[in-house]
Amino acid sequence: MGMDRREFIRISGLAALLGLSGKGAFELLRPGQVEAALGAEPKALSGKRWAMVVNMPKLDEATAQKCIEACHRVHNVPDFNSPNDPKDKLDPEIAHRYEVKWLWTEHYHNAFTEDASTLPEKVQHFAFLLLCNHCDNPPCVRVCPTKATFRRDDGIVNMDMHRCIGCRFCMAGCPFGARSFNWKDPRPYVKGTYPGYPTREIGVVEKCTFCAERLAQGLMPACVEASGGAMIFGDLSDEKSKVRETLKKYFTIRRKVHLGTNPQVYYIV
């Protein structure tokens, strides 16, 4: 039995009609209306270029410690010097090698490579509060073979822990030492795990994320909240934002600008 052209066209037309009916038609004509949808959190803070300003004269050592504590608490960052179970105790030297840090302090000569002779003397005695610089031109993103670390459109250099294979290229690429590797399962060293945030596993690299998860809930980064005004966070592309106002008013320095990564953490000295 054959089929002439008229018959074939009739049947294919009917088949197309059938195919368009039901869920398929909904998908084609009003996509995303049948299935559940994912949308932006309404309270989320949004920006085009997030940046941080650290007011060093205002930031004393105790406040810096408070900021570090706040950050490490809400992100379940382990402290290898104080295990939850005494039998996990590590040799201090080993514990130092395993250290995971998102926010930490360092003196001028360790944080900045520029000659300090033109800066006031006191600058060299500040304990600079250091974190990931969320560079405009991040070398860690360039070297990551799995795109586990990537630059978001709002300037945050974020990590996708699910994709990190632990090759540590990013640690070699980062000129600021902002990245830490999980040499050991961090769970036994996380004090009172913070409920809303996952821990990490052995074998991934982690770093400061400018509190991307808090920005999505409309909150300021944890360190900024704990700093009592010594740290200012905001959108650099917004002319009226507090960071822009502050940058206009004060002289600031950034870490290792000559490397061309365009770091986005500014220090008032």
Binding site: A36, G192, P195
Partner: protein, 164 residues
Amino acid sequence: MDDKYKNEFGVFAERPKVEKKFYGGKYIFGGLVIFLILIFLPLAPNLGKTVPSPQRQLDTPVIQKMAEKDRQCVMPTEWMRANHMQMLVDWRESVVRSDEKGAPNVREFVAPDGRKFLASLTNTCLDCHSNKDKFCDQCHNYVAVAPNCFGCHLQEGKKLAEAK
């Protein structure tokens, strides 16, 4: 040709007498038996046993606090049973990576019936299903899968943190 036997070398008076024998039989069959035993050995421990079907428990504190009519997962139960893994992958992609290519950060999940949820395994799924061993593990063990979500996402100290 009759009873003359012929091969490529010529015609012979009679067929050469070769004893018909199965050589090395005990090694071959012995080897076969050993092979079969080894192949089926892993099945032996479960032979004749019925594995109990998974017993999922939903009596976590958060679920018990809910009103009866609210006790509904983000999607229908049957759908969740079949597709939760794909949904979690979709959530992960949209929450972690959506800002990469111009899309706004996407963290809110709107179910077909209009209810809204934060797209988060730690904060949404594991809040209700806080009993991993009585819920997640039941089926995962039954079908012998070992998802690595819980290496990071299960908060063992969760109850302690809440008690504060």
